[in-house]
């Protein structure tokens, strides 16, 4: 790294006459990135000259703080994004070439029997595979103890089939992706393949049968989503590409909660993070994530659920025996998409066995 001239260090120390020190409010707001642009500039200007205020900022940083996605125009050109875009583009090109090759040989040939999803259409919920060494346990954390390093096994939930029974949910599973190993064989009991049921790139499937209402939909904000979805579609037509399987693993995002109660998501294994706007007026304090399925809870009984890695959210209002959950949620546990437990600051425990359709209070 280049060194600055010593005269630069000396003059930097002298600096201009110190302005008044920012108060604790502004320093705290600066640390949490909730100042205006002008305030931030003024605070940085002061910090550049005041050693003690720099020390205060350093000491006041939370012990665990996630890094936001890099600001500025460069984020679209950052190396991880370019690398991922390059990999996805290669996958798309190779996939198209192989597909065309197979189609030209035989139009009736089966798609390669290394499916990436298992579906049941018999009205029963298919349990996720038993956790093995290659599959991380689902994340059940409170805001304080959150570990954003987990990479849970993805479990995708699809729309209820011929939906008389609201519990009839076909669950498509992918397994053993974390190590890029071979995936389980399909149990095609009349199940459609992923290729046939591929959702539109911009609108992943949402389980409308579960939640009583839907939060305002959020459009994907990153163009990488479209590339990733296109890559996913082509992946089903290929045979035994561990690179593709490994790239799917990276699609499962990581989650974290800030000390100010906002939700953050990382799509690149924790290198960069973005704020996900779920409930701007609630402080979120707990979350549970199983693959693309995520629950977040916070102040005033705010509880939100997404089945597509946070692209769309639904607010869930637990009610039991005519009583609604209104206390602050401080713990959310979902060992699997169906069974969950909510803990509140008033020592209540709310449980569900059907992914939030019905609740019991203890």
């Amino acid at each position: 790294m280049a060194q600055i001239p010593k005269i630069g260090l000396q003059r930097l120390q002298k600096g201009a006459e110190l302005q008044a020190h920012p108060d604790a409010e502004l320093i705290a707001a600066f640390i949490e990135n909730s100042t205006t642009r002008r305030e931030r500039t003024d605070i940085l200007d002061h910090l550049a000259q005041c050693y003690e205020c720099r020390e205060i900022v350093s000491l006041a940083l939370p012990e665990r703080m996630e890094v936001e996605k890099s600001r500025g125009a460069s984020r679209w050109l950052s190396w991880p994004v370019l690398r991922w875009a390059g990999a996805a583009a290669c996958v798309v090109v190779v996939g198209m070439a192989v597909t065309l090759h197979y189609e030209s040989r035989s139009r009736s040939a089966q798609v390669n029997t290394q499916p990436v999803e298992v579906a049941t259409l018999d009205g029963k919920v298919a349990e996720p595979p038993s956790p093995g060494p290659a599959i991380d346990q689902p994340t059940n954390k409170t805001a304080e103890g959150l570990n954003p390093e987990r990479n849970p096994a993805p479990v995708r939930k699809k729309k209820a089939t011929e939906g008389a029974n609201s519990n009839s949910i076909s669950i498509n599973q992918t397994a053993d992706i974390a190590q890029g190993g071979p995936e389980p064989e399909a149990q095609l009991q009349g199940a459609e393949t992923l290729e046939a049921r591929t959702p539109p790139a911009a609108a992943p499937p949402v389980n409308e049968g579960i939640v009583p209402g839907r939060a305002k939909l959020a459009e994907p904000t990153i163009a990488m989503d479209n590339i990733a979805e296109a890559a996913k579609r082509q992946a089903t037509a290929l045979s035994g590409s561990s690179a593709i399987v490994a790239s799917r693993a990276r699609l499962v995002p990581r989650w974290a909660l800030n000390s100010d109660g906002s939700l953050q998501r990382s799509r690149d294994g924790g290198s960069t993070w973005e704020i996900v706007s779920v409930a701007p007026q609630s402080r979120l304090r707990a979350l549970a994530a199983i693959g693309f399925d995520i629950w977040v809870g916070g102040s005033g009984g705010a509880l939100y659920h997404s089945v597509d890695a946070g692209q769309h959210w639904s607010q869930v209002r637990p009610v039991a025996d005519g009583e609604a959950l209104t206390a602050d949620i401080i713990g959310v546990e979902f060992p699997d998409p169906q069974h969950g437990k909510i803990s509140t600051s008033s020592l209540e425990t709310w449980t569900t066995d059907d992914a939030g359709q019905h609740w019991q209070k203890q």
């Binding site: 930097l12 020190h21 409010e25 320093i27 949490e32 003024d42 940085l44 003690e52 000491l59 936001e68």
Partner: protein
């Protein structure tokens, strides 16, 4: 909706928005009336917004506040017992955890937390009224973040006071001569070099100067600086390299604008490196004879202590 007698700021955001935000704050649970709450909001608006802020700006600002925490804290400051119960439940343990993280040593941490707790409760009486530090919280940042900052400020102030006392004791024990009343004359720096450097530093953004000061003066790691600025560590590394190169270039350009030839300018910078390197070292040894409270090599600022 009862007549509230709201002041201009509240009038601008509208009674409906005020009712909405009052409900969101749950201030009623803590015994805070809507009138009192409106007064608190008015105070915060007056502190942070310009007098000519538009109604839309005021509304956006008010809705960005942590109103639930603000209501809780101001109720505590007003002495509402219910509010104190909630505050203690949520934050008492956290207070001691934060103090432990800052002070590292357990007895110092406990003393720090106890001291702040007393300030928050309001053991100081002024004009017959209990004065609580909580009354200064305005909801701009989270309450936990504010508690961290207040604890950090208190810790820094304590260390600064203690260092003044310890330095005298240690020096008399060690038989060290007290510094001469007249400081040694600094090595004369070419005015053009100082001016060109000041101009070059002035052209840097505040963020760049902060990064330079943190890295070169405080010896902070790239990771620490990245955490503060909420960017990736590699971003800081790239910035530092870029700043260092551009600073040298600008100083040279500034010297040439002040009449030096390129060669003279380069020589001036080279001489500066040799002489000022020695001078800086001797100055550092004089001024930082005791380790800073954060165990980092740094020169203390000559400014006044923070509030």
């Amino acid at each position: 909706m009862p007549e509230l007698g709201v002041q201009s700021g509240m009038k601008q955001i509208g009674l409906q928005s005020l009712a909405e935000i009052y409900q969101k704050s749950r201030a009623a649970d803590f015994g805070l009336s809507i009138e009192n709450f409106a007064g608190i909001l008015q105070e915060v608006i007056k502190k942070y917004l310009a007098a000519d802020a538009s109604p839309a700006e005021i509304k956006e600002f008010v809705f960005s506040l942590r109103v639930e925490e603000l209501a809780l804290v101001r109720s505590c400051a007003a002495g509402h017992e219910r509010a104190w119960e909630v505050f203690l439940t949520r934050y008492r343990e956290k207070l001691y955890e934060i103090a432990a993280y800052i002070a590292k040593e357990s007895s110092a941490a406990r003393e720090l937390a106890d001291s702040l707790y007393a300030d928050l409760y309001g053991t100081t009486i002024r004009d017959g009224q209990r004065v609580s530090k909580l009354a200064s919280y305005t909801g701009r940042g989270s309450l936990e973040g504010w508690l961290r900052t207040v604890l950090a400020q208190e810790f820094v102030n304590r260390y600064r006071r203690q260092r003044r006392l310890v330095s005298l004791d240690e020096e008399s024990e060690q038989g060290t001569q007290f510094p001469a009343s007249t400081p040694e004359p600094e090595t004369k720096v070419d005015n053009r070099l100082a001016a060109a450097t000041d101009d070059a530093l002035g052209e840097l953004s505040p963020e760049d100067r902060f990064i330079l000061a943190s890295y070169y003066l405080d010896s902070r790691t790239l990771a620490e600086i990245a955490r503060i600025l909420r960017v990736h560590e590699s971003t800081i590394s790239r910035k530092l390299d870029k700043i260092a190169k551009s600073l040298r270039k600008r100083i040279l350009a500034g010297l040439q604008q002040r009449g030096m030839s390129r060669r003279q300018a380069q020589e001036a910078l080279e001489i500066d490196v040799r002489d000022l390197g020695l001078n800086l070292r001797s100055r550092l040894l004089q001024e930082t004879s005791h380790p800073p409270f954060s165990n980092k090599k740094a020169e203390a600022s000559a400014g006044k202590g923070p509030s």
